[in-house]
Amino acid sequence: MSTQKEALQELTTAEYKAGFVSDIEMEFAPKGLSEDIVRFISKKKEEPDWLLEWRLKAYRAWLLMTEPKWANIHYGPIDYQGIHYYAAPKNRPKSLAEVDPAIMAMYDKLGIPLQEREALLGVAVDAVLDSVSVGTTFKKKLDDLGIYFSSFSEAVHEHPDLVKKWLGTVVPYNDNFFAALNSAVFSDGSFAYVPPGVRCPMELSTYFRINAANTGQFERTLIVADKGAYVSYLEGCTAPMRDEHQLHAAVVELIALDDGEVKYSTIQNWYPGDKQGKGGIYNFVTKRGKALGRNSKISWTQVETGSAITWKYPSCILQGDNSVGEFYSVAVCNNYQQADTGTKMTHIGKNTKSTIISKGISSGFGQNTYRGQVKVLKGATNARNYSQCDSLLIGDKCGAHTFPYIEVNEPTAQLEHEATTSKIGDDQLFYAQQRGITPEDATNMIVNGFCKKVFLNLPMEFAVEAQKLIQVSLALEGTVG
C-alpha cells in the first residue's frame, strides 16, 4: 500500500500557474546602480527636486549599509550591479482604454479585473507591471468621495503635499538596507488617502507583477486613513518562471489617525523557484504601519505562498492611546522555499492592544521561521498582547523555527504567548482513508483547519482564493465535499 507515500510525493509536484512570460515592448534603464541611475529614474518620472534629493539621501545611506545577515535564510550573493532598476512598457497609456492589448491579455490570464465592466467585484485595482503602474480602475467613483487612489507616480504630481507630508514617516529612508535601496530606486507603487470620516466603500487593490528578465521590482505603497476613516487594501503578486533569481524589495507604509483604520491584506504568490530550488523571487520587504491617533487601528493579514526567499515583518507602531495592532499570517514553504517572517508590535500609547496569529506550513525541504517582537515601552500602561505561533509540518525533510522576542518596560502590561508544532502524520491520513476520505482531501482538511483563524480575516473572495492557492502550492488538487 503506497497511496500515502504517493499523496505526499504529489505535494512536491506543485506547478506554478502564473509562470508565463508576456511579450511586451519594454524600455530599460542600463543595468546597475549609481547616482546617475537614481537621477535617471527620477527624471523619467518627472519628479520634483525634493523627491530626487530624498532618493539621493537614501542612496548615499544605502552605500554605507550592509545586507542584514541575521535572518534564518540562506542564499547566494545578490549582484546589485546586475539588475535593471527600471523597466517600463514602451507605450505608456493615457487611459485604461489605451492600455496595450498584450498587457490587458496578460492580466486577463491572471484573472485580474482591470476593466470597469467588472465593477461587480467591487475591487478597485491599480496594477503595477515591473516598474510602472498600468492603470487604475474606479477612479471616478473614488474621486467623488474625496478618496485618492492612484499610482505613486501620479500622486507625486497630483497630491505632492500629502506625499511629502507622509513619505518616510513610518519607514525612514535609512531604516534598513533593503528599505534604503527601495527609497533610492523605487519606481512605482500605490498611494491611497481616505479623508476624515470617510469609509472607503470598496476594497482597494494593487496587483504587482514582475515580467521582464533581470529586473528588480521596488514598489512603494503609502496609505493614509485620516481621522475616522477606514480603508481595506489588498495586494496580490506574481512573476514569470525564470531560472535566475529576481529581487523584490518593496516598502509599505500605513498611517491611521484618530479613530482611523487601515486593513492591509496580501496574497503573495511570487514565483517560488522549481522543485530543485532553481530560480524564484527574493522577497525582502519592509512593511510597517503607524497607529498614530487615538483609537486607531492597523491590521495586517498575509498569505505567503510564493518566493524562494521571504524576509518580511509587517509591523505596527502603536503610538496613539487605545490603538490596536493585528497581524494574521499564513506562510507556506514547499520544495526549497525559505521564509523568515513575522511581525513587530511596538506599544507606546496607553491601553494599546496587539494580536499576533502566525501559522507556518512547511513541506518538502521548506524552512519556515517565525520571528516576532513584542515591545512595550515605559508609559504604555495596560498594554496587552496575545501571540499564537503554530507550525505544521508535512513530511520529514522540512523545518519550522520560532523566534519570539519580548521586551517589556511597563509593569502593568499583560502578554500571552502560545506556540504549537504539529505534523500531518501517516496515522492521521490512514484514519481519514479508513473513513473513505482520500489522503489529498484529508491533508486539505487539516491544512484548512490549521489556517482557519487567519482566513477569517481576509475579505470573502480573497479567502476562497487563498484556500485554493495553498492547495496549489502544496499540490493538493483534490476537493473536500
Binding site: P439, I446, F450
Partner: protein, 253 residues
C-alpha cells in the same frame, strides 16, 4: 456467497511475518469474535483488512462481496462498506468532528452514486445517533478526538460506525481502556447495529466485552493462525483457563 472470505492469509509488518495462514468465513448477519494472546496477530489481521500501510499481505486472498479486497485502496475499502473501529483513534486538531464525519459520509455516498447530504440533512441524521452513544451535541463541534478522554474516543468510533452504516465492521480492541459503564454504552451501540445485512468482527483480548456483544462464533488466533473455533462457550472456557491450553495446537510438528 460469504460477505468475507479469508483464505490462507499471510502478512508481514515491516520484515516480520505475523499472519501465517489465516482462514475465516464471515456471512452477513453474523458476529464473530477473534480472541488471542498478546502478539498473536489479532490487530494485524484487523489492520490488513483495513489496508494500513506497512501491513503487507504476502500471500493468500481476502474476498469481500466477491471482490479482491487486498487490491483496493484503503479509502475504497471504506467506501465499499468496510469499517474499522481503531484501537487508538487518531486526533486531528483543527478539523471538526461533524465536518470530518460529513466529509466521510459524502465521500462514501459519492462513490456509490448517491446524492450528498447537506448540513441540515446531515445534522438530522446524526442527532439520533449521538443520543444512542450518550454523546452531548457540543461534541460534534469539537476537533476530531482532540483532547477527548479514552472513553469518548471509543464512543466516537462507534458513533462514526452508526452514521456510516458499514456492511463489515471490525472492532479492534474497542474494549481496551473502557470502564464498565463506558463498555455498556459502547456495546449497546454495537448491538443496535446488528442486523441481517451486516457482519461484525470483534477483535479482543478479554472475554468481558462478549458478555455484552454476544458472538455467534469465537475464533482463537495463536501465532498467526486460527487454532480453534467454536461458539460463545469457547470464550468462557478461555476466560477460565487462559490461552495456554489451546497453544500447543498452534505449533504443528
Amino acid at each position: 456467497m460469504a460477505l468475507l472470505e479469508v483464505r490462507d492469509l499471510r502478512a508481514k509488518v515491516g520484515d516480520k511475518e505475523i499472519l501465517k495462514g489465516v482462514n475465516l468465513t464471515v456471512n452477513a448477519g453474523e458476529v464473530h469474535a477473534i480472541m488471542g494472546p498478546n502478539g498473536s496477530g489479532k490487530s494485524t489481521f484487523a489492520n490488513v483488512i483495513a489496508g494500513r500501510p506497512n501491513y503487507e499481505a504476502t500471500g493468500g486472498t481476502v474476498t469481500y462481496e466477491g471482490k479482491d479486497l487486498l487490491a483496493m485502496k484503503p479509502e475504497n475499502r471504506a467506501r465499499e462498506g468496510v469499517f474499522m473501529a481503531f484501537q487508538y483513534p487518531v486526533e486531528i486538531p483543527g478539523v471538526g468532528n461533524a465536518y470530518f464525519l460529513k466529509s466521510a459520509l459524502n465521500a462514501i455516498r459519492r462513490y456509490r452514486g448517491q446524492p450528498e447530504l447537506d448540513a441540515m440533512e446531515f445534522m438530522e441524521l446524526v442527532s439520533d445517533k449521538t443520543k444512542l452513544l450518550g454523546l452531548d451535541e457540543s461534541f460534534l463541534g469539537r476537533s476530531l478526538n482532540d483532547g477527548f478522554s479514552g472513553g469518548e474516543k471509543k464512543r466516537n468510533e462507534i458513533f462514526q460506525m452508526a452514521v456510516l452504516e458499514p456492511r463489515l465492521a471490525v472492532l479492534d480492541e474497542t474494549d481496551s481502556g473502557l470502564d464498565i459503564d463506558a463498555l455498556r454504552v459502547v456495546a449497546n451501540g454495537v448491538n443496535t447495529m446488528r442486523g441481517k445485512e451486516r457482519a461484525i468482527l470483534v477483535v479482543t483480548h478479554y472475554q468481558r466485552i462478549l458478555n455484552y456483544i454476544v458472538p455467534d462464533f469465537v475464533h482463537v488466533l495463536v501465532d498467526g493462525r486460527i487454532v480453534k473455533s467454536g461458539g460463545q462457550e469457547l470464550a468462557h472456557e478461555l476466560e477460565k483457563r487462559g490461552y495456554a491450553w489451546v497453544e500447543p495446537a498452534a505449533s504443528p510438528a
